[in-house]
Symmetry: C2
Subunit: 467 residues, 2 copies
Amino acid sequence: MPDTVQQHLERDLPAAIERLKQFLSIPSVSTDPAYKPHIATAAKWVCDQLASMGLDAKIHSTRGHPVVLGTTPNPDPDKPTVMFYGHYDVQPADPLDKWSTPPFEPTIKPTADGKGKMLVARGSSDDKGQVACFLEALRAWHHVHGKPPVNVRVLIEGEEEMGSVNLKPFLEAQAANLKGNPKTHFVLISDTAMWDEQTVAITYSLRGLVYYDIQLHNANRDLHSGMFGGVSANPATILTQVLGKLFDENHRVTIPGFYDDVRDIDAHEKAEWDRLGFDEMKNCLQPIGVSTPFGEAGYTTLQRKWARPSCDINGLYGGYGGAGAKTVIPSFAGAKVSFRLAPDQDPRKISEAFEAWLKSQPVHGCRWKITNHGGCRPVITSRDSAFVEAAKRAIRHTTSRDAVLMREGATIPVVADFQGVLGLDSLLIGFGLSDDRLHAPDEKFNLNCFTLGCKTHARLLHELSQI
Amino acid sequence: MPDTVQQHLERDLPAAIERLKQFLSIPSVSTDPAYKPHIATAAKWVCDQLASMGLDAKIHSTRGHPVVLGTTPNPDPDKPTVMFYGHYDVQPADPLDKWSTPPFEPTIKPTADGKGKMLVARGSSDDKGQVACFLEALRAWHHVHGKPPVNVRVLIEGEEEMGSVNLKPFLEAQAANLKGNPKTHFVLISDTAMWDEQTVAITYSLRGLVYYDIQLHNANRDLHSGMFGGVSANPATILTQVLGKLFDENHRVTIPGFYDDVRDIDAHEKAEWDRLGFDEMKNCLQPIGVSTPFGEAGYTTLQRKWARPSCDINGLYGGYGGAGAKTVIPSFAGAKVSFRLAPDQDPRKISEAFEAWLKSQPVHGCRWKITNHGGCRPVITSRDSAFVEAAKRAIRHTTSRDAVLMREGATIPVVADFQGVLGLDSLLIGFGLSDDRLHAPDEKFNLNCFTLGCKTHARLLHELSQI
């Protein structure tokens, strides 16, 4: 083990934190066109970092936001090649008034337990902080040995938070380059969570996603509820009637065929999960202020979160939502509705089933305007490859604990594309924590996690060089 | 009949329209505190107008927006006294992008049929334009005869569009003054619609109102729908489940006891309404772009609109409603929910029943935050008093047609208060049209209606002097 790399990482930590703060201060919100100039700034920042650690780095334009790609020059054909994937874009920061410090002014604060420090900013954990872990590992290898011990590709995209819609065409167009010379062996991703603050997890399954904006329209204008109340269908009312039927009394989605393809959870996985000692109140609900476990009957909280599909209304809108009273019948009302898909659900089948279900509902003369914001397949990968074994060794070495093999309820759209387009499996080793407030105000990344991420990645590069 | 008054009204019409445009250009939105300075401007404008036509006029402050009061000086004890009521406040103008010209830049345009002209502005019909009809009638009498032929009080308030919450205390405080010396005989109100463009209506019943803001809260922050989808109750989802149960399959409100006190429609009223030749498609739904009649089973469109209670969701909000996709589980979701009440429903009983119903719904650990924005009793008044007969004569004289006696689905909160606090019945003669787009973008008032309103009020003052 090159202890000099680990030692350098420790010495260089203050500078590494400053670099991460620079990265976090760029408001690279991908879904809102108003932030497009900042997207370009973030891509350039990443490209400059990659170049500074000796990689051939380039910004590739797409139909959407650019992809940054860096590759080891003069790769060694006898060494494996790992392709690191991450994203430089972030979720919108609203509601802004719920942040204790501005979302794009990264601030170091004590952690809730007072025992450590954390960096508060949008994107700190998802995913800039985790990208920075790998970049710092590479930088340390570059500083100490002039290059990493294996061949490296780094692919950092800018549309993960809006469904990575343009990455698949990019992968298709660049397939020959990305797969060969040097031949890529697997994809390494840090965009997931640790099992707990001491225990690094290897995530072998992700849920998929289907996301819709649905609107119900009726009158050609907002109406006075006194003059028109009771004479025609109110789209807001009818929308609640339709959405109110999305679940049955067992809190199962009522869309016909929704569960048809869901893969059963293996008995040995269930047993393994039961041994993890997960407490649904302490580990999941209490930290978010929720008093009551709730969800599909017949499954534990962990099973529902990791291996069962879910359906959420992500937003409701229409009519008057301001202060006071406005007696209006809205001309339309809308909802953002999304589904997390379990292996082996197919986003296309689920989309078709949802649209057919919507259209089968009585809407009393109202008209649907349905927008599909894209889908993503769920993923389940190997639990026992040579790369997983290398990762287990690196984690054991860095943390003195065994890795936990877990699933994740969230979606990383590109993982399915790496499998489908490039034939590459992904190894997911994340350094976030479940209380990192992803997509929410006061998102944070513990500095301990950052340090651990840098060190684990540095060690993983070594372990991979020994395969 | 003082034809000179009518002649003066015709000659003075261009100046009257200019005065109305001045009034309409003041953005006196009552429900939004940001508009408070404009409320003061509007009150002063009204007060100045009343003084200019010889009334003792004064602005009275309340806990909310001020009330403007004007009274004939030296009243004649042998003449009846009519109290005209109207409001100088208007609804919010949003959504602004749906207006073809700015809401507070009154603009004269051709009517949809190309045969006449109309004034487009927020408040043009509700209620500034209709207030102006009475003011212009008074002005003409003042100009021609030095004073009106009966004693007059004018009470113009500034909180009608937010429920007239401070007017009742004002009436209570001013009761002795408002009832006597000169003794007030009845209240005259122009805030309703004509039967059609040729036929003036006398409205003898109004629906009441109960208005709520209800919010359902769960987690202490917005959650990532991947990490938390399926493990706790989503307030937006549960809200739709609750609201989806507001109506049964006959589109009747399911709140226990909701219909208990509703007064049946008299057989002779039903027969009278059937003879009006109301076509639900042509007269009601087609103009608003609605293809399908819809509402409580067992009643015609006119019966539902005039004499049956209704329930509407006036707004839905919560979570992400912007462009694109945000995969969030909202920490709360809310709705504006209101009820129009038919005679003899009691707003207090309906409020209690609604809140009890909400609290009886399963919300799976979520918590309600319920705000009652106030209520108003429904009203039903005499169809055959001496004042109604005088109004019929004035309408017959001005339009050469008999008045239609109708009900109205909308609410004028103060009518119930005039009855309850001052013991005064109201006579409702309005000059709006059903396509005036009240509370909506491009609200308008036809200039023919304005002229007719001025002339009818001028003649009514004469008819009242003959009682």
